[in-house]
């Protein structure tokens, strides 16, 4: 009976990682026999000092950096064993906020967001209104026709986050999304994460910003956040940090 329940739990897991090790070409070991699991609709926050491997870990989850060894299953699939079309299909349900995943410099803000909807196969009627509404919520309604070069770095970060969230991904990976944002923008972003999670998305984010902790405390028990710390290549649960 207990075995069957364990199996059911395992089946319910969206991300499962065992013995995950990543050694960079420079020889630095950023992940060392790490374990990680996240169920569907969960909200995982990984905190840690800079250069502890948080970004690498998220890139591994996003299918961008193959682990040196170990097992990684997302939706019970080895994402590094997918063919090109299968990977495109899988990525159509994944949103990524990575600092190097920039906006297209030749497209306007609106075009950049519209483009992701096309890539993810989520474009359709009413999308212009939806983009306008989202931009207006972020206080950027006047920037719809601006090019990225005309935006501040904070505005660009918010647009990057909106771009990753507008198509309601099943899995959102956010690498330090609050970096460079003022308090107001960070609060907005945090609220949007919460809403997305409530709507059914699984969120894994990494951060060094304490603002996130403060916002999480304010949110109280509305959303259960699974806290983890990445330290010396290993992921540790931080139950005590739950607000």
């Amino acid at each position: 009976m207990r075995f069957r329940a364990a199996c059911r739990n395992l089946q319910y897991m969206m991300i499962q990682a065992f013995h995950l090790t990543k050694v960079h070409s420079s020889g630095v070991k950023v992940l060392d026999d790490a374990y990680f699991s996240a169920s569907q609709r969960s909200f995982v926050a990984i905190i840690g000092e800079s250069r502890t491997g948080k970004s690498t870990f998220l890139k591994i989850l996003g299918g961008e950096e193959k682990p040196t060894s170990g097992v990684l299953r997302i939706d019970h699939r080895d994402i590094y064993g997918l063919s090109d079309p299968e990977k495109s299909q899988w990525l159509s349900e994944v949103g990524m906020i990575f600092p190097d995943l920039k906006l297209f410099p030749d497209k306007t803000v609106e075009e950049n967001i519209h483009f992701i909807l096309q890539v993810k196969g989520a474009s359709g009627e009413g999308e212009k209104e939806a983009i306008g509404k989202l931009l207006s919520r972020a206080g950027l309604e006047g920037k719809a026709h601006s090019k990225p070069a005309d935006l501040s770095s904070g505005e660009q970060s918010v647009i990057l986050a909106l771009r990753a969230m507008i198509f309601r991904p099943r899995l959102l990976l956010a690498d330090d999304p609050f970096q460079g944002l003022d308090h107001k923008a960070s609060s907005l972003l945090f609220r949007l994460f919460m809403e997305l999670n409530k709507a059914g998305s699984t969120i894994v984010l990494s951060t060094q910003q304490m603002i996130f902790l403060e916002e999480a405390k304010k949110a109280g028990t509305e959303t259960r956040i699974q806290w983890m710390k990445l330290d010396q290549g290993k992921l540790h649960p931080l139950e005590e940090a739950i607000p």
């Binding site: 495109s88 299909q89 994944v94 995943l101 297209f104 030749d106 890539v119 993810k120």
Partner: protein
């Protein structure tokens, strides 16, 4: 490809075309220059081919029959000739008609009067089809086997010279034209590779976002196709100007007489060929650029 995909590729291809205007212009100019070379070359080789063709048309074969050949033999041999695919037309020249021709020369006329009888035999003047120059030997051999045929005369050496020249012009044209096309393809492909290099960041971003292959490569292929089309349009416009405005001037001096006097339908087929060649050149150039190893490694 469904309609929304088509519009995506169409729009993105156009946007890319304007984003890298410099390189796009270079590709269009290269395609135009290549097509101009090819069409001038095509014009020259066509003119030569026509000249050789009209030379070939002047060749006739004379089939002389034996004196014993009767009416039934005449009919049989005429049918034999007409049934051959290498023969365009056959005209019977009776010995009476032939002797009338001879009598026009007073000296031969005196000789014929002294002889007292017509020494000539019936013959056929055979006009040959243009395309079957190489197979002529077979026809001659077949005719010579007939007991009622005395001699077959067709100016063997001249015929072979013209036929060989025609072959050289056709093959030479094909090889040189192919060489020009391949050289242009190499240059176009490398210029489009430069355009890809300039936009590699966008290419990587699209791949990382999960854009499927058609989204990444479709606009580039369309862009190449369109650049080829634009290059061809420039050449077509150039020829139209030559034909309508400069034609009269050039005709006065003889230069491009043959080219300018081509019938309208031939101009249309030339334009269509140029547009098709231009589009193939652009599309293949873009396709080859996308096949480069470093482009594939962008994911």
């Amino acid at each position: 490809m469904n309609l929304s995909r088509f519009f995506f590729v169409f729009k993105e291809g156009f946007l890319q075309l304007f984003r890298t205007r410099g390189l796009s212009t270079a590709v269009v100019v290269i395609v135009a220059a290549t097509l101009l070379q090819l069409s001038l070359f095509l014009g020259i080789s066509r003119t030569l081919d026509r000249a050789l063709g009209s030379a070939r048309e002047k060749f006739q074969m004379a089939v002389f029959l034996t004196p014993a050949a009767g009416d039934s033999d005449l009919k049989r041999i005429q049918e034999l000739l007409l049934s051959d695919s290498r023969v365009a037309s056959v005209r019977l020249v009776t010995k009476e008609e032939a002797v009338q021709d001879f009598r026009k020369d007073p000296e031969i006329d005196r000789m014929l009067q002294a002889l007292g009888e017509n020494p000539l035999t019936d013959s056929f003047t055979v006009i040959l089809r243009n395309d079957d120059s190489q197979k002529l030997e077979g026809l001659v051999e077949k005719l010579k086997q007939d007991p009622r045929i005395e001699e077959v005369d067709y100016g063997k050496n001249e015929w072979e010279t013209v036929s060989n020249l025609t072959r050289v012009v056709r093959w030479g044209g094909l090889i040189l034209g192919g060489f020009i096309f391949l050289t242009a393809l190499f240059i176009v492909s490398n210029t489009l590779t430069l355009a890809l290099w300039a936009r590699r960041e966008d290419f990587i971003l699209m791949a990382r976002m999960g854009a499927p292959a058609w989204m990444r490569t479709g606009p580039y292929l369309w862009e190449g196709l369109f650049q080829g089309f634009l290059g061809a349009l420039i050449v077509v416009a150039f020829f139209e100007v030559i034909r309508h405005w400069a034609g009269l001037v050039l005709q006065k001096y003889g230069g491009f007489d043959v080219l300018i006097n081509l019938a309208l339908t031939e101009w249309e087929s030339l334009y269509l060929t140029l547009v098709l060649l231009g589009m193939i050149l652009g599309f293949l150039g873009a396709y080859l650029a996308l096949q480069k190893k470093w482009v594939k490694e962008l994911r």
